[in-house]
């Protein structure tokens, strides 16, 4: 009796062993992306990858809608060295922090001799953004920059040209708003809620005026007269009623929603909005949208924030080799082209901008390449989360009218000064 029992348990152990071996050949990879980065499109793309690689199963985990909400979640996962995520889509501002915290598996050894060749295909800005101290931390998934979205139909109706300066934005918005007489129609929106996107609401006019937050050594370099330009610009636009009274509660995606609902003349926002305005069934502005580079204080000195999302393999992944393969696929020209067509995600390869199919889906991409090439980075520092929080909180408080230009600026300088020592 006993012998039979032992035999049976040995047999079952062997069975369990072989079946787990069979399972081990199938690798499951889990990729994390944000709700605003078109997880549906990523799902389509990884489904194709799974078809070509039957031994790999890819799960897509969708996180919060804003960059800092996603990072809050990732901070807890990665600080506890959790291995549940293999690949993570990270904002262009994060590689420095990820490298410092040792959360990303450096990709140099996986790329091997190919490293130079692979990296040289990308737009220079993304080559740099993904390389920290000579080490490749992540590979770009798609590029991004802020553009000026405008209502082609309304501007034409009121005989206004797409503006090239902030002053022209003001006059154009006022002309259209007055001409339309629609109480729901807002003049201009940019991100104003205390979220990551609001950092760009501050830096774009700052850069346009010739200022900068940090110098080349990463030290605070806000000069007094230039640092207040963004406050003056947005303050005057709020005063004139071009920015809505609730601008301080507008996060990035709300700009798209308002624009898509036909309630906005101008929006300062990112590449993904185009596809949504053209393809979403509830869009009221299909074929009524124009996209041009952002204005500046003078027409020849415009600036924009660089955006875009990068693919990092986490240092705690148990399937790093397979994860790197997936990342290299997702960061290929073919996938870049697919994303451009399916989601108006800006390509990270210069050639894809000229692809006829891509241009057919996104006519404005012809003008977008030089914008992406000259777009600027927010301060690069491992303590970026704190820098971002100081800038966005003060910009938000100013837009809400609870802080004056002086008090917002003083607090920004004091707190940034201690962080960027």
């Amino acid at each position: 009796m006993k012998a039979r029992l032992i035999a049976a348990s040995v047999a079952s152990l062997v069975l369990v062993g072989t079946s787990s071996l069979a399972l081990a050949q199938q690798t499951t990879l889990r990729i994390f992306t944000g709700g605003q980065q078109r997880p549906d499109v990523m799902r389509q793309i990884v489904d194709e990858y799974m078809k070509a690689n039957p031994n790999v199963k890819v799960e897509v985990e969708v996180g919060g809608a804003t960059s800092e909400q996603q990072q809050q979640y990732l901070n807890t996962v990665l600080a506890s060295r959790d291995s549940s995520l293999d690949v993570v889509l990270i904002d262009v501002i994060r590689p420095a922090q990820w490298a410092a915290a040792k959360w990303a598996e450096p990709l140099d050894s996986y790329l091997g001799a190919d490293k130079e060749k692979v990296m040289s295909q990308y737009l220079p800005a993304y080559r740099e953004a993904n390389t920290v101290n000579g080490s490749v931390i992540s590979l770009p998934y798609f590029a991004d920059a802020q553009f000026l979205y405008y209502r082609k139909d309304l501007l034409a109706k009121h005989n206004v040209q797409p503006p090239k300066t902030w002053d022209e934005v003001k006059t154009a918005a006022q002309a259209v708003m007055k001409g339309e007489g629609n109480a729901n129609l807002r003049g201009f929106e940019t991100a104003g809620a205390p979220i990551e996107g609001t950092v760009c609401t501050y830096t774009v006019p700052l850069w346009g005026a010739g200022g900068t937050v940090t110098d080349t050594n990463g030290k605070l370099a806000l000069s007094a007269d230039l640092a207040k330009k963004p406050f003056e610009l947005w303050g005057s636009m709020k005063q004139a009623g071009i920015l809505p009274p609730n601008i301080a509660e507008i996060p990035t995606d709300r700009i798209r929603q308002n624009f898509q609902a036909g309630n906005l003349v101008f929006g300062m926002t990112w590449g993904y909005v185009w596809n949504r305005t053209q393809q979403d069934t509830d869009s009221l502005v299909k074929d009524k949208v124009g996209v041009v580079p952002l204005p500046g204080f003078t027409a020849d000195k415009a600036a924009t924030c660089i955006g875009g999302w990068q693919l990092a393999v986490t240092a705690f992944s148990k399937n790093k080799a397979e994860a790197v393969k997936l990342v290299r696929y997702l960061s290929s020209p073919e996938v870049s082209k697919r994303q451009a067509i399916l989601a108006s995600h800006l390509p990270v390869f210069p050639d894809v901008y000229k692809d006829p199919e891509v241009l057919k889906a996104n006519p404005w991409f012809a003008e977008a390449l030089p914008v992406v090439q000259t777009a600027r980075s927010r301060p690069v520092t491992p303590r970026y989360n704190e820098v971002s929080e100081v800038v966005r909180t003060n910009m938000n408080a100013f837009l809400a009218g609870t802080k004056t230009e002086e008090s917002a600026l003083t607090e920004m300088r004091n707190r940034l000064g201690t962080i960027l020592r």
């Binding site: 915290a101 809620a193 009274p245 303590r383 989360n385 938000n396 408080a397 809400a400």
Partner: protein, 318 residues
């Protein structure tokens, strides 16, 4: 806690001291008692004692995950010193104090009203009871999101109502005072149902005979409320106050969902600042010190309430 005490009582009677003359059966019983207690003790140690000790230890360290090359050196009271000179800590503490001052009495007053309503001899009791339970069962962050939509500038119900009666729309969530009011309304709505449940339980222990006697003595409804209901309800009110105060000190979810601390950081609470410091900025050392400070404040306030209940001769009511 009470379950532990009650299991402790039968297995370890007070006289069961480690006496040499303990019979083998008694010794066995003792061993069994400890064995039965061990899981609960280990669990409590794992989820309460260990984290608190770890928190206190971390609060004396420089421990910043964004700068791992700095290591985790012991820095003594530096993090606490930093808190004392950190304006934002004091602002957050001040906001938290305001939330406590407004929402604790607010929830008790509203909760008392709800409890009295639910205690009425309605023939159909379930609608009122359900109304009491629903806000309580709803996760805090959902309540925050719901109220954020209520107070939203263009699509919100509140502004819609204001416009309908001819008043101007208000920027509820981007004006510091209005945002504070909106958040307090949401918190009171969310938490008064818990208070009401506690008070309802208290109300049902008050003997009917007291009211009958009062009626015979000619006391009106109002006099009955002041002279019978409120004094008899005092222990329940204190319990509700303790729980509500502790949760109010920890206020996080509702302002986080409604304003994320904005505009600026004018609605940021201490718990939100701790969250931001540790989860956003990954500054575990400083965040832990802030958490210890918050813990001390909660402990002092709770001790105050407990002293008050002990002094209270509530036996008078029984």
């Amino acid at each position: 806690m009470s379950t532990i005490e009650s299991t402790l009582a039968p297995v370890a009677p007070p006289k069961a001291r480690a006496k040499p003359g303990l019979s083998p059966i008694d010794r066995d019983e003792r061993r069994l008692g400890f064995a039965l207690l061990a899981p609960a003790f280990l669990l409590l140690f794992g989820v309460v004692v260990y984290p608190i000790v770890d928190l206190v230890v971390t609060s004396f360290q420089l421990n910043n995950l964004a700068q791992p090359w700095m290591g985790t050196p012991f820095v003594g009271l530096e993090n606490y010193g930093r808190a004392m000179s950190d304006d934002r800590f004091w602002e957050a503490t001040f906001h938290t104090g305001l939330y406590v001052l407004v929402t604790v009495p607010g929830a008790v007053v509203v909760g008392l009203g709800l409890a009295l309503l639910a205690n009425q001899p309605f023939r159909v009791k379930w609608p009122v009871r359900l109304g009491l339970l629903l806000p309580w069962a709803l996760p805090l962050v959902f309540a925050g999101l719901i109220f954020r939509w209520f107070f939203e500038y263009t699509q919100g119900l509140v502004n819609n109502a204001l416009l309908m009666v001819g008043l101007p729309a208000q920027a509820w969530l981007t004006d510091p005072t209005l945002a504070f009011i909106a958040i307090c309304i949401a918190i009171v709505w969310k938490t008064s149902s818990f208070v009401a449940l506690v008070l309802l339980a208290g109300l049902q222990t008050i003997p009917r005979s007291l009211y009958e006697a009062a009626e015979i003595d000619g006391a009106g409804k109002l006099a009955q409320f002041w002279e019978i209901t409120l004094p008899m309800l005092r222990p329940a009110i204190v319990v509700a106050l303790i729980f509500r105060t502790i949760t109010a000190i920890q206020t996080f979810d509702i302002p986080f969902a409604m304003t994320n601390g904005g505009p600026g950081n004018s609605t940021e609470t201490l718990a939100m600042y701790i969250h931001k410091t540790t989860i956003d900025f990954l500054d575990l050392g400083y965040g832990s010190a802030l958490a210890v400070l918050m813990f001390i404040v909660s402990a002092i306030l709770t001790a105050g309430y407990l002293r008050y209940t002990r002094r209270d001769p509530s036996a008078r009511g029984h």
